[in-house]
């Protein structure tokens, strides 16, 4: 049995009329043809052959319950929906048969019956609306659009833009990309300030004679590539030593040799 609660592929035009109308054994055991309990109820209601607003809800509930009972006796699986509806209808039946006691907070049987009637009428109305829609002069069936439309032709023309500069730049970059360059990282000797200070201290020692910085550093200044860093670091270090009062610096004029000597401590003066 297919799942009756999901959409069946039943054709609305072909199938519904084939369902046996007012057949005495409407309870031939088949729920597969119904799209859920509401569909089944609507079908049962139609069999009362009256306006939906005049159907006997009690009779309808009984028919549904007996249908479900038959189906269950035959041990046919039923989707939960059908059983929930059966439970609700049993409740509806009981509410209809027992008069509403004053102060009863539960909904009255009449109200429940009205709800069911409304739902059935609404479903039927939608079915009716669907068939009225389908019977309208539909496009492609009764009404036609232009068979050979002449669509708008849009001619796209693209203008590409580029400047000579962009062109040349692109070329330059391409050519450079292909040039294989070996890159060797350039390492340079750098005298750290701390090292320069230590070396300077050691070289000057206790000499109290004015001597140019270059002379002190003569042995280190052999390699020309080291000259700049050595001089720079030593000079910085010497300034530091002057500030500390350990060294004296003197220069006669701009670019003249930088003379330095150990400062005589005040105590020795």
């Amino acid at each position: 049995m297919s799942d009756p609660t999901s959409d069946s592929t039943t054709d609305w035009f072909a199938a519904p009329v084939t369902r046996p109308a007012d057949d005495a054994d409407i309870f031939h055991v088949d729920v597969a043809g119904y799209e859920g309990p509401l569909d089944l109820l609507l079908d049962l209601a139609r069999r009362q052959k009256v306006d939906l607003s005049a159907i006997s809800v009690l009779a309808l509930a009984e028919q549904y319950l007996s249908f479900i009972a038959t189906v269950r006796d035959k041990r046919i699986e039923l989707a939960a929906d059908y059983l929930v509806m059966a439970a609700w209808l049993a409740y509806l039946k009981s509410r209809l048969m027992v008069p509403q006691a004053p102060g009863d907070p539960e909904p009255s049987g009449e109200m429940l019956a009205a709800v069911l009637q409304f739902r059935l009428k609404r479903l039927e109305a939608m079915r009716d609306a669907a068939s009225r829609l389908m019977n309208r002069p539909r496009l492609g069936l009764m009404v036609y659009q232009r068979g050979d439309p002449e669509p708008l032709v849009i001619e796209r023309r693209r203008f590409w833009e580029a400047t000579l500069y962009e062109l040349l730049k692109a070329y330059g970059e391409q050519r450079e990309k292909t040039v294989s360059t070996d890159y060797t990282p350039f390492t340079r000797t750098v005298w750290a300030l701390g090292d320069a200070r230590d070396i300077l201290q050691r070289l000057i020692g206790d000499s109290f004679d004015w001597l140019p910085l270059d002379t002190y550093l003569a042995e280190y200044l052999v390699k020309p590539e080291h000259r700049a860093t050595i001089l720079a670091s030593s000079f910085s270090a010497s300034l530091e030593l002057v500030r500390e009062g350990q060294l004296e610096l003197r220069q006669q004029e701009a670019f003249a040799p930088l003379l330095m000597r150990r400062r005589k401590s005040d105590s020795t003066e």
Binding site: L38, M126, V143, P149
Partner: protein
């Protein structure tokens, strides 16, 4: 006098332009789509009214479909032109009911459709209706779960020969009987199908919103 003659000539030309445009297109054209082709100061509505009148008695009529306008063969000639349709697949009952529920109750969520049908609606049914371009996702209802709201399209109006949703068959009776109400029993306020812009309780869809997942 000369100005009047000019005006007449311009109107005549604009009518020809509209005729050509509408004849050339298989799909309805909106006024916004037609306006660029008309001269400055043209009144497209008045021109369309003239064309509608001119063609009213002919074998081809100018009809309005939502915001669009299109030439369609006259309805009364349908039986004559009716062709053999082999590939026209009949819609399943589920699809038909779902379509009519969306049409009459829009904006409608899947839960509302299921409430009326009393059955779960497979996603395939809605997909099929959207594929047929009759149904579209409108937005998301501003309620817990943010369900997608569905509505009909202009192609729906076109296919079923409706100028607007107000032309839905039996709409007034259904309204009178309170059957367009989602609530029970019929409330005082009876909603009417609505395919306009988003309502207060609808959020727009994200650009990449693909609708509800499979339930």
């Amino acid at each position: 006098m000369a100005i009047d003659e000019d005006a007449t000539a311009i109107a005549a030309r604009n009518l020809r332009v509209l005729e050509a445009l509408l004849f050339a297109s298989a799909e309805p054209l909106s006024i916004a789509e037609m306006t660029p082709f008309l001269g400055d100061g043209a009144n497209p509505r008045a021109l369309l009214a003239t064309l509608t009148r001119d063609y009213a008695s002919r074998g081809v009529n100018l009809v309005r479909r939502g915001n669009g306008w299109a030439f369609r063969t006259a309805e009364d000639l349908g039986f004559l032109l009716r062709r053999e349709h082999t590939e026209h697949r009949a819609l399943s009952r589920a699809a038909l009911e779902t379509l009519s529920i969306i049409a009459y109750h829009q904006p409608a969520t899947r839960a509302e459709i299921e409430e009326i049908r009393g059955v779960a609606t497979g996603k395939g049914t809605l997909d099929l209706l959207m594929e047929a371009r009759w149904v579209r996702m409108r937005g998301r209802r501003r309620t817990p779960g943010r369900p997608v709201t569905y509505g009909t399209t202009e192609a729906f109006l076109d296919h079923f020969g409706l100028e607007s949703l107000a032309d839905l068959p039996g709409l007034d009776e259904l309204k009178g009987a309170g059957l367009l109400s989602g609530r029970l029993p019929p409330t005082l306020q009876i909603p009417l199908p609505f395919d306009g812009p988003l309502r207060d309780d609808e959020d727009p869809l994200d650009p990449d919103d693909t609708g509800d997942g499979e339930p």
